[in-house]
Amino acid sequence: MLLVLGGMWVGQNINLLPVDASVNAPIYDELFQVLFTIGTVLFVGIVGLLVFSLIRFRRRSDQIGDGIAIEGNLPLEIFWTAVPAVVVLFVGLYSYDIYDRMGGMVPLAHDHMDGAHEERVWGGISSGSVQAGEIGNALPIDVTAMQFAFLFHYPDGDIISGELHVPAGRPITLRMEAKDVIHAFWVPEFRLKQDVIPGQPTQLSFTPTRPGRYPIVCAELCGPYHGGMRSTVVVEEQDAWDAWFSSNAKTDAANT
């Protein structure tokens, strides 16, 4: 009991994660808390039991002979098969739910965000996950990864940029492909990662929330300068982003 309460406290109060900057980050943190709580309870429980046995049942100097001959206990063994199975099942279903809320379970095949993108999308978080009413509002951006940089192309304004500028609160859909080797697009503050693969376009949809500058990190070994392959995502308020957009747009396309 105490253990469970302690575990809950640890789960609630110890924060090991960076700030949240996208809609799905708080959902992720919820999952993290649950896993952290269960993990702490299990770890402390098992290690506690181990240390207790080592102390309580250590061989004193006056003792010779063996311990008690217990070879097994079926009910007990069934118990500790069943309990982890239930816990694991719960965790699995729960994380499925979380993933669903993050949009991950939307099939990629039914991707109709934009008639031009009829090509096959191989993986990622589908743009179909964007709230129905928001789909028309989603901002498409093409991401090209190469040794050792990311390039962002905004089809709407034909902007090419080395930094990703996105407006807070608007859904974004990245269409990603690599030129040479596999890279990965990771923004820790968004809690999102997707490999960027040569020959297999992938997609990543998210909605940034908190304005600020966050690192974009390449997370897949891609060569000698892999560690230096970083960029920045700038999340701005809508006005600031509009200003950035119109000062960079080559075509004078209306701001979609």
Partner: protein
């Protein structure tokens, strides 16, 4: 092809025409004990090399800029470190070394089923290892990590990568030969009267492991052959510019390499199951469920590979399936841990080095298992995949798990190997340094990964400097911890306290002969050990007179 027979001299128990004395450890010996020790010592030498490489990595990471070595050299060091530690240290030692030494004893045989093949399997290892390491000096080693994902592995310098493939193929071959030998020995070479369910648990672990080896290693071999075609013959299996598919490589690779993690840890589970009962003076708890859980792990272990590919563009249904399958592996694994705890409960535990390392293993592995289950959850993994969190996870498993067990086993079986005891004080010092150093090194890496440090980088965001330095200090401690161990092992070989045949009063068959054992394991017939864990006194009759289980042995027919 045909069965070539060595000329034998006509004595009672004909000795083979092979060197005796220390020279035999450098020979093509077919004695399973010699081969076992060859594996052990050879593996340990490679461990020192792999450790030096790790030291180089942690030195580089003590500062956030790439200042200690050139970046491409860093990637070579990283690749060599992973490959050496997995294929030349853990796999050969937990399987080859202890398997060869112990399994024939456990089944009551005088050698492995195919002694010649056994020696061949061992002698593939040193050349393969030297080849791998020499590539660093000759042409530059492979730079694409131990996973060798294309297209990186196709576009980095070809010679190093080809040598890497060759040496991994040789090591894979060695591993397959070993696996065939273990399966045949355990299933076919048992002493008459010895039933499967009476075998010591390590046999079951090795049976399960060998099944995994036989089923999964060939797939890796085939895949690497295809990869080498891509490199030298310009085919396009995994080369997207020629229409290939890079993700197929990942599937094939992990079809081997997830089972490979069980190839590294199942034997360790088996070894711990041998060590704990002896030093706790209690029967192994739940023998039958242990056996079933090993087999469940083998079965599940073959169908979880894509949990390494949650960000590789796998379709949603695949993610869901592999999440559930992976999470369920925790159930049989959990059973084993609870059984071990129950084995300790109510025992008369000697807190010696073997026991301490085994308990260190339990602590570390439980943590690694918990992070493993978390990683199996797709949404969780999407954030931490390919970060230092994963690095922490698998080092808790392979170092905190397998390597701790290797040390526990050395403390436990050293008297058997040499007839002398290891020094306990040095052993405990070794344990303390390793345990603290290990946790200091890898514990903080969880945080690094959660907060944005990817793996396999030579440079990083300066905000992570302090934690990385702590981690490097831990690595230094671990390096230092090998010194008392080395000294202990060498010094005790000459001047250690004499052990006698059975210093632990153990009941498994390898202790029912002299230490070190004679060439064919037993003078006279092999004992029939029906209760390898027959320790202890029934709860009602707690009789101190029955000090050891010697009366429980039934030898002969």
């Amino acid at each position: 092809m045909t069965i070539a027979l060595q000329p034998e001299t006509g004595t009672e128990r004909p000795p083979r025409l092979q060197p005796t004395g220390w020279l035999r450890y450098f020979s093509f010996s077919v004695d399973h004990k010699v081969i076992g020790l060859q594996y052990l010592v050879c593996g340990f030498l490679f461990y020192l090399i792999g450790g030096a490489l790790a030291g180089a990595i942690r030195t580089e990471l003590a500062s956030p800029v790439a200042d200690f070595m050139p970046r491409d050299v860093y990637n070579q060091v990283l690749t060599l470190h992973g490959t050496v530690m997995i294929f030349l240290w853990i796999v050969p030692v937990v399987n080859g070394a202890f398997g060869n030494y112990l399994i024939p004893f456990y089944v009551g045989a005088r050698d492995m089923a195919f002694p010649r093949l056994n020696a061949v399997a061992f002698w593939l290892i040193p050349p393969a290892g030297l080849l791998l390491i020499s590539s660093y000096f000759l042409t530059g080693a492979a730079q694409s990590g131990w996973t060798a994902y294309p297209p990186l592995s196709i576009t980095t310098p070809a010679t190093g990568q080809i040598i890497w493939i060759l040496s991994v193929l040789l090591l894979g071959g060695s591993s397959i030969f070993g696996g065939i030998n273990f399966i045949a020995t355990i299933l076919k070479l048992r002493r008459p009267g010895l039933k499967l369910m009476q075998l010591p648990m390590y046999c079951w672990a090795m049976l399960g492991t060998s099944i995994l080896v036989v089923l999964s290693t060939p797939v890796l071999a085939g895949t690497l052959v295809l990869l080498s075609f891509d490199i030298v013959a310009h085919t396009g299996f995994f080369n997207p510019t020629l229409g290939g598919n890079v993700v197929v490589y990942q599937h094939l690779f992990w079809f081997y390499s997830h089972p490979a993690v069980y190839i590294m840890v199942l034997p360790a589970f088996g070894l711990v199951s041998e060590i704990l009962p002896v030093h706790a003076r209690k029967p192994l708890f739940g023998y039958t469920t242990m056996v079933y859980s090993i087999m469940a792990i083998v079965g599940l272990g073959l169908i979880v590979w894509a949990h390494h590919m949650f960000t590789s563009g796998t379709p949603p249904w695949m993610r869901l399936f592999f999440t559930i399958a992976t999470a369920f592996i925790a159930v049989p694994t959990g059973i084993k841990f609870f059984n071990w705890l129950a084995t300790l409960w109510g025992g008369r535990i000697s807190l010696n080095s073997a026991m301490l390392f085994s308990c260190g293993f339990i602590v570390n592995f439980v943590l690694g298992g918990i992070t493993g289950v978390a990683l199996a959850q797709v949404p969780f993994d999407i954030h931490v995949h390919d970060t230092y969190f994963v690095v922490a996870h698998f080092h808790y498993i392979v170092f905190g798990g397998s390597v701790f067990v290797i040390f526990a086993s050395i403390y436990h079986w050293y008297p058997k190997f040499t007839g002398r005891m290891l020094n306990e004080h040095l052993g405990r010092l070794h344990f303390a340094l390793t345990f603290i150093g290990f946790n200091l090194c890898f514990g903080p890496q969880h945080w690094l990964g959660l907060n944005g440090m990817p793996r396999r980088v030579a440079e990083y965001d300066p905000q992570f400097t302090l934690i990385n330095q702590i981690s490097s200090v831990g690595a230094l401690l671990m390096a230092i911890s090998t010194l008392p161990f080395l000294w202990n092992v060498i010094q005790s070989a000459f001047a250690g306290q004499r052990a006698g045949d059975n210093p632990w009063n153990a009941l498994t068959p390898e202790w029912l002969t002299s230490s070190p054992p004679p060439v064919e394991n037993w003078v006279g017939e092999a004992p029939l050990v029906e209760e390898p864990y027959g320790f202890g006194i029934p709860a009602e009759a707690f009789d101190l007179a029955a000090a050891s289980g010697r009366d429980l042995w039934s030898s002969g027919k």
